[in-house]
C-alpha cells in the first residue's frame, strides 16, 4: 500500500464529476456518462434548468432531459460535456465483498471530496432496516463508505476507478447507489 492510497484512482474519476445546483440549493453531484451527458439523481435534478459546475471550475447552464423518479435517476445535457472524459462504467456484480470502493461528491458543499470504504454487495436491502418495501426490493450497490448530503448523484467507483454505481441514499449509515448497469440500460432506453 502506498502513501498515495486512493489518490490515483480517484483523480481518474474526478475529471468526470460535476456539481449540480438548482436555485439556492446546496445541490448534488453528477457523473459524466459515456455519450456526453451527465447522469445524476432525480432528486438532484428537480427542475428543467440546472446550474452545472464543470471539473475545471467553469459554470454552465444545463437542461434536465430525462427523469426517472422511481429509480431516482436523471440526465442533464450541458455545453462542454462532450469535451470531458466520461467515466468508465463497471459491473458491480464482479466486485467482491470487502473490495475497496470510493465515493466522490460534494458533501456539505465541499467540492470533489473523496471518501473510501468497502463494498458489501449488490441487491435488495436487508429486511428490518426500515426502508419502504418497494425501495428495499430494488437492486442497490451497497457499501460501507461515508456519504453526506451533496454526494447524491456522484459516483461510487471500484479500486480500478470504474464507476459501479450512482450514489442515491444513505440508509442506516450505508451508502446505496443505483448500479451502473441499470443506469446504462435505463438511460439507453430513454435516450431520444
Amino acid at each position: 500500500m502506498t502513501a498515495a492510497f486512493a489518490a490515483e484512482a480517484a483523480s481518474r474519476v474526478r475529471g468526470g464529476v460535476v456539481h449540480l445546483r438548482v436555485g439556492d440549493s446546496a445541490g448534488g453531484a453528477g457523473v459524466v456518462w459515456p455519450g456526453g451527458v451527465v447522469v445524476t439523481n432525480a432528486h438532484v435534478a428537480i427542475e428543467r434548468r440546472i446550474i452545472v459546475r464543470l471539473p475545471d471550475g467553469s459554470v454552465v447552464e444545463g437542461e434536465t432531459i430525462w427523469r426517472d423518479p422511481e429509480r431516482d435517476l436523471a440526465a442533464v445535457a450541458a455545453p462542454g460535456l462532450a469535451a470531458l472524459p466520461p467515466v468508465e462504467p463497471g459491473d458491480a456484480g464482479r466486485v467482491r465483498p470487502g473490495s475497496l470502493v470510493f465515493a466522490i461528491g460534494h458533501p456539505w458543499g465541499i467540492q470533489d471530496a473523496v471518501s473510501v470504504g468497502v463494498f458489501h454487495g449488490v441487491g435488495p436491502i436487508p429486511a428490518g432496516i426500515g426502508v419502504p418495501e418497494p425501495i428495499r426490493r430494488q437492486a442497490w450497490v451497497q457499501a460501507a463508505v461515508r456519504l453526506a448530503p451533496g454526494n447524491s448523484g456522484g459516483p461510487i467507483a471500484d479500486a480500478d476507478g470504474r464507476v459501479i454505481g450512482v450514489s442515491a441514499m444513505i440508509v442506516a449509515g450505508l451508502a446505496l447507489a443505483v448500479p451502473a448497469g441499470e443506469v446504462e440500460s435505463l438511460w439507453r432506453g430513454a435516450r431520444p
Partner: protein, 307 residues
C-alpha cells in the same frame, strides 16, 4: 509521489480475499425481531454472538454462508462481556481462524464482518484506534485486551468478527460496548467465556458480600497503626450468610490491604474477584476498633439475578 498503477487494486484484492476467507465462519443470528445480528463459528458446533442481541430463548435460527437457515439453541449468556453462545449441528462450517490481537497496533487496517441474511457477507473497513492490556468494560466483564477501532458497526454487525488483512479473526465486535469506538471482545476472552458457558451455562463471578467506600486515616492513626499508606476502604454493610460475614468481617472495619497489596478503591477489590477467583482465599488486613486485625475470606460465587 505517485502510486504504482494497480497498488490500490491489489490492496483491494487482498481485502476481498480476507473477507472471503473469514466470512466462511460468519453466520446471521435470528434471535430478535426484525433485523438479525451476526455470529462467529468459534468452535465446531458453537456460535458466538453478542448477548444484547439475543432477545428470545427459543426459536433461534442461524443463516449459514450457503444461505441455509438452521435451528440453534442457546447454550448460555454473559451480559458482563456481552457474549452469548449458541449450539448448531457440528460439521457444517469451518471454525474461525483466530489471530493474535497482541500483534495489532493502532493504525493497522481491520475489517468488521457481518451477515444479515442469505446474501453475501457485509463488511466495514477501518483502522485500529487503541490497544492495551486487561480492562473492565462498563457492563462489568473483564476483557483481556483493549482493542478498539474506528470501523462503523452498522445495524446487525454486533456479534460479527474483527478481521485483519489476512482474514484472521481477532475477536467479536460488540455494539453494546462500543461508544464511541467499536469495541472488540478479544479472542482469549471469547475463549474463556465460551469455556465457562459450555461448562456451566453462565460465567461465575467472585463475591464477598460487602459494600465498601474509600476513607483516609489521619496521620496520627496511620503512625500509631504502622500503616504504609493513609487510604483504606470502610465496610458499610455486610450481607447475611455471605463470605465476608462468615469470615468475621464487621460493619465499620477498614480494609487497607488484600493479600498484602494496599487497596484504596472498590474497583481494585472487584478486579480481585474476576476470572477464577471463586474458591480462592483472600487475606483482608483491617483496622477494627483502633487495632490491626486480619480476616481470611473464601471468595464465594455472586448470586445470579433471576432470568
Amino acid at each position: 509521489m505517485s502510486a504504482p498503477s494497480g497498488s490500490l487494486a491489489s490492496l483491494s484484492e487482498q481485502l476481498a480475499d480476507a473477507v472471503a476467507r473469514a466470512a466462511e465462519s460468519v453466520v446471521a443470528v435470528h434471535a430478535r425481531p426484525r433485523l438479525p445480528s451476526s455470529g462467529v463459528h468459534w468452535r465446531d458446533g458453537v456460535v458466538v454472538t453478542t448477548e444484547a442481541t439475543v432477545k428470545r430463548l427459543d426459536g433461534i435460527t442461524v443463516t449459514l454462508p450457503d444461505g441455509a437457515r438452521i435451528d440453534a439453541t442457546l447454550i448460555g449468556r454473559d451480559p458482563g462481556t456481552d457474549l452469548a453462545l449458541l449450539r448448531i449441528p457440528t460439521g457444517h462450517l469451518p471454525v474461525a481462524r483466530s489471530g493474535d490481537p497482541g500483534t495489532l497496533r493502532p493504525g493497522h487496517l481491520v475489517l468488521a464482518l457481518a451477515r444479515l441474511g442469505d446474501d453475501g457477507p457485509r463488511v466495514a473497513l477501518g483502522t485500529v484506534s487503541a490497544t492495551g492490556g486487561p480492562w473492565r468494560c462498563w457492563k462489568g466483564g473483564e476483557i483481556d485486551r483493549r482493542l478498539q477501532s474506528d470501523v462503523t458497526l452498522y445495524p446487525g454487525f454486533g456479534g460479527g468478527p474483527l478481521v485483519d488483512v489476512d482474514g484472521r479473526v481477532h475477536g467479536v465486535n460488540s455494539g453494546g460496548l462500543s461508544r464511541p469506538f467499536a469495541t472488540t471482545v478479544t479472542a482469549a476472552t471469547v475463549d474463556r467465556v465460551a469455556g465457562e458457558l459450555l461448562e456451566r451455562g453462565y460465567v461465575a463471578r467472585g463475591w464477598l458480600g460487602i459494600a465498601m467506600h474509600p476513607v483516609r486515616f489521619d496521620p496520627g492513626a496511620r503512625e500509631r497503626l504502622g500503616l504504609s499508606r493513609d487510604a483504606g476502604l470502610v465496610v458499610l454493610s455486610v450481607e447475611p450468610d455471605a463470605p465476608a460475614g462468615r469470615a468475621g468481617v464487621l460493619v465499620g472495619d477498614v480494609v487497607f490491604a488484600i493479600d498484602g497489596q494496599p487497596v484504596e478503591s472498590p474497583e481494585q477489590v472487584v478486579d480481585l474477584l474476576g476470572g477464577g477467583a471463586v474458591g480462592r482465599v483472600l487475606a483482608l488486613d483491617l483496622v477494627r476498633g483502633g487495632a490491626r486485625t486480619r480476616a481470611d475470606v473464601t471468595v464465594g460465587e455472586r448470586p445470579r439475578r433471576a432470568g
